[in-house]
């Protein structure tokens, strides 16, 4: 439990500094190639920053957002993740891996008949909580589960 508290404290200070820098214009997200790629969110080094980047400050826990992940992933380089949202009017789903160097993995917007469901395969550096965040009617909802990783998928 202590570690959780420590992570929270650490990430809180880090994102505070980051937010300050962005406000000062020092870290203004430059839009290089893909104009719409959310650089600030994807390059955030902690969950708080990544959530802020996608506009979800404090998402509410929801039982209608279903996150399917393995309990134990033998190979952290390929971790299958399924997210299904039963929340009405879900327009986007994002997936985060809390302890990865950059927690935000992917973010999908749905339109024109697409069901708010996505399956993907992610890399995980170590045992971590995996978080799904869904946006519905302008509000954010979240669900999370821990995946134990025996061999990491980041770095060498």
């Amino acid at each position: 439990m202590n570690t959780t508290r420590r992570t929270v404290l650490k990430s809180a200070t880090a994102s505070g500094v980051l937010a300050g820098l962005i406000a000062a214009g020092a870290l203004r997200p430059t839009q290089v190639l893909a104009a719409e790629w959310n650089k600030a969110a994807f390059e955030a080094h902690d969950t708080v920053g990544a959530l802020k980047g996608i506009g979800a400050g404090a998402p509410a826990d929801s039982k209608d957002l279903i996150l399917k992940v393995p309990d134990i992933a033998e190979n952290g380089a390929v971790v299958p993740v399924d997210v299904i949202s039963n929340i009405p009017n879900t327009t986007s789903i994002s997936i985060l891996v809390e302890k990865n160097p950059s927690p935000l993995s992917a973010s999908f917007d749905f339109a024109n008949g697409a069901l708010p469901e996505v399956s993907a395969r992610l890399k995980m550096g170590q045992t971590s909580l995996v978080k799904a965040v869904a946006k519905a009617d302008g509000k954010f909802y979240t669900a999370q589960k821990e995946v134990k990783v025996t061999v990491g998928g980041c770095g060498g």
Binding site: S107, D109, A111, G113, L115, S119, A120, L122, K123, G156
Partner: protein, 103 residues
Amino acid sequence: MADPMKIRAQLKGDVTEIRVLMGHAMETGQRKDAAGKTIPPLFIQSMTVEVGGKKVVDGQIGTSVSRNPVFGFKMKGAKVGDKVVVSWVDNKGDKRTDEAAVA
């Protein structure tokens, strides 16, 4: 130029399942090669799925998606024969578009 994607779109009842496999290294920028030099990041940043000329999924992707990414989506309202067009762009500007038909 990257390898072609494998796209499968299958109508089951009134739901179309779309699965895409993209051939891409998805280098994180954190790995080092044998000489100890950091391998620069190379990863898909954005992708779209269009069915019957309408954008269905608009995705943004970070470095932590696995090598040779596989994505699965579902949609309603597609018919057999509708064209499914999937495109991606990576952080170096390389891009690829492939298409298939709903079966």
